[in-house]
């Protein structure tokens, strides 16, 4: 065994199991959605498939990552391998950027074009003939369909919870950098502290986000089916929220690993990848705060 040459793993059963898990999730999930939209209730076969898929997927991911971690701990990964991981993570984050870009694009399009056109402004303002009573505004409180499709009564005030959340996330980006510095200086105790701090900030963010949703649904009438404002609002903040949750979970795994003595000052790519991801999620939030909440 040499560590200088590139590591090629032996055959593995995780990929095929992951594919099976995925198809169970998809086929089961699809069946569940169709059942739900047809007004059905209760457990059906698709539900079982979906949960079996979720179980299978969690098991596989857990084992697959443990596999990778033990290979890494056994020193089987060369510097070149480390570079591969870095490149992969960068490109993965780029793909996530493009995923959010699609939603931001939709938001800009409806604000710049669709809503004004429906209200009689701009190049295609004749559309107003179809919606004579519609007045375009943003945030959109009254939809073109009027009372058939009621809009929100009110929207989230950016200067309360969202502002707090912005502060939380930005500080968490700072604290994770403290953790990184500490790790590089081999101060394990401080690393554990700052990382835990970061995770708590993230969790608090998610908590407030949930509070905000409860308020939106309960009091403001701001829902997924309250027209395009609600659609873009929940799509963007919702997918962001999912990413924060996932990021916090990954950080938590990293925290566990650090507690168990993993990582060295110059070999800790797992941690760095998690940190990159966290910064990315943070950047998305700043975009959201500006374009979804404030403007």
């Amino acid at each position: 065994m040499t560590t200088s040459s590139y590591y090629v793993p032996d055959s593995s059963r995780w990929p095929i199991l992951a594919s099976i898990g995925l198809i169970l999730l998809a086929a089961g999930g699809g069946g569940m959605l169709n059942h739900m939209s047809a007004g059905g209730h209760g457990m059906t076969l698709p539900h079982f498939a979906f949960y079996a898929g979720a179980l299978c997927m969690s098991y596989v991911l857990f084992r697959w990552f443990s596999n990778v971690i033990s290979e890494s701990m056994a020193g089987m990964y060369s510097l070149q391998m480390d570079r591969s991981f870095r490149w992969s993570m960068c490109w993965f984050i780029f793909s996530e950027v493009m995923f959010f870009a699609a939603f931001f694009g939709a938001l800009f399009y409806v604000r710049q074009f669709a809503v004004p056109w429906l209200g009689g402004e701009g190049d295609k303002g004749v559309a107003h003939l179809l919606w004579p009573d519609f007045v375009p505004t943003w945030p959109l409180f009254n939809n073109p369909a009027g009372t058939d499709l009621p809009g929100p009564n009110q929207i989230i005030d950016p200067w309360h919870l969202p502002l707090l959340n912005t502060v939380l996330l930005i500080s968490s980006s700072v604290t994770i950098t403290f953790a990184h510095h500490a790790l590089r200086a081999m101060q394990r105790g401080r690393t554990i502290f700052w990382l835990a701090f970061t995770i708590i900030l993230g969790a608090t963010f998610v908590y407030y986000q949930i509070l905000e949703y409860v308020e939106a649904y309960g009091e403001l009438g701001l829902t997924l089916d309250s027209g395009i404002y609600g659609s873009t609002f929940f799509m963007l903040t919702g997918f962001h929220g999912v990413h924060v949750t996932l990021g916090a979970f990954i950080l938590f795994i990293m925290w566990l690993r650090i507690c168990r003595g993993h990582f060295t000052p110059d070999q800790h790519f797992g941690f760095e990848a998690a940190a990159w991801y966290w910064h990315f999620v943070d950047m998305v939030w700043i975009g959201l705060f500006i374009f979804v909440y404030i403007l």
Binding site: V126, L129, L130, P144
Partner: protein, 373 residues
């Protein structure tokens, strides 16, 4: 399956024998009957010939090499593999050619995009699978449906010369007037295309697209829906009839008096048999596309009406309501605007009594007039 094969065979024979199939070959874009369509045609020919020209040169050199520079002729390969000046040259020449194409394309487009100063506005609405034409300010509005019979489509009758391109109510417009079309849709995206006018525009639900035409020569011009819009996308043709301005006025007046006659008919008494006969016709032309010729429905999306609770045990009011107002968010559209009260009464009666539904209910036109209020 067997019948299907037999049908296939019979139709194959009929096709070979039928003279219609030997109609003139159409190879190129029609020149059309408007100034715009002529300039589009010219543009098309220009770019076509430019491409042919470039093709002749490029493929000429390629086939020359293929024929002359082959190993079997004992040629030894040259070794050159770079030339900056060549690369620059064959970047620059196409650029110039493209600019030469872009100029006439731009002027034509700007002209096509100017619907201002129109004499007549017509609102065109796409429905699954028919067109509605509304002469704005004239109080004239009607639907236009395919009239080619199901028997022709299924090769049981010989196909007529305007197979699939014939409708019950044509869009009638006068010569020499600039006509603005306002296109929209009631359900999915359709596209309104008449090649001879070089007008093709999408009809998008909730939005309006503008387009225009001006035709000098009377005649009949045919086109089709050109955006996939569901099962019968291939069966929603467009027929435009261009007439002199005088004939156009006569036609408009006739349309208006026909509408009056219809509302008068709603006041009359209709017998069960009359309603059933009329209902059968309405059903065949309006409803059978989705609900099947014998009310058996189609797949899981389009419900059967035969033995359906709505058309048997359910209340008459609800049945009428569905037909008049549709079921929102589904393909079941509101027929209030499309059918006269008599037609709705007839089709409701028909659905409640045909195919063994035998409820015995008779719905009068007056009931529909009331329901509309």
């Amino acid at each position: 399956m067997l019948t299907r094969f037999r049908r296939c065979l019979i139709s194959a024979m009929m096709m070979v024998l039928s003279p219609a199939i030997y109609a003139a070959w159409e190879l190129n874009m029609p020149q059309g009957v408007t100034e715009v369509s002529q300039s589009v045609y010219d543009l098309h020919m220009l770019i076509l010939w430019i491409c042919v020209g470039i093709g002749v040169i490029v493929f000429g050199v390629m086939f020359y090499s293929i024929i002359r520079h082959r190993k079997s002729r004992g040629v030894k390969a040259a070794q050159f593999h770079e030339s900056l000046s060549l690369e620059l040259l064959w970047t620059a020449i196409p650029t110039v050619i493209l600019i030469a194409m872009a100029v006439p394309a731009t002027t034509t487009l700007i002209n096509m995009y100017d619907p201002s100063d129109a004499d007549i506005d017509i609102k065109i609405t796409g429905y699954q699978w028919k067109w509605q034409y509304e002469y704005m300010g004239e109080n004239v509005s009607f639907f236009s449906n395919l009239t080619t019979s199901d028997r022709q489509i299924h090769n049981q009758d010989e196909k007529g010369s305007n197979y699939l391109l014939e409708v019950d109510n044509r869009l009638v417009i006068p010569t020499g007037k600039k006509i603005r079309f306002l296109l929209t849709s009631n359900d999915v995206i359709h596209a309104w295309w008449v090649p001879a006018l070089a007008v093709k525009k999408d009809a998008i639900p909730g939005y309006i697209n503008e387009s225009w035409t001006q035709i000098e020569s009377p005649g009949i011009y045919r086109g089709q829906c050109t955006e996939l819009c569901g099962v019968d996308h291939g069966f929603m043709p467009i027929v435009v009839e261009v007439v002199s301005p005088q004939d156009y006025q006569v036609w408009l007046d006739a349309q208006r008096s026909a509408a009056q006659a219809q509302s008068a008919a709603a006041q009359q008494d209709w017998s069960y048999d009359q309603l059933m006969a009329r209902g059968e016709q309405v059903y065949a032309s309006q409803c059978s596309a989705c609900h099947g010729a014998n009310g058996e429905g189609l797949g899981s999306v389009f419900p059967a009406l035969k033995d359906s609770p709505v058309a048997t045990t359910g209340s008459v009011e609800r049945h009428i309501d569905i037909i008049l107002n549709g079921v929102s968010g589904t393909a079941m559209q509101a027929f209030m605007a499309q059918l006269s009260s008599v037609d709705v009464a007839a089709v409701t009666t028909y659905e409640r009594n045909a195919w063994g539904n035998n409820t015995g209910d008779v719905i009068t036109p007056q009931q529909i007039v009331d329901a509309k209020q």
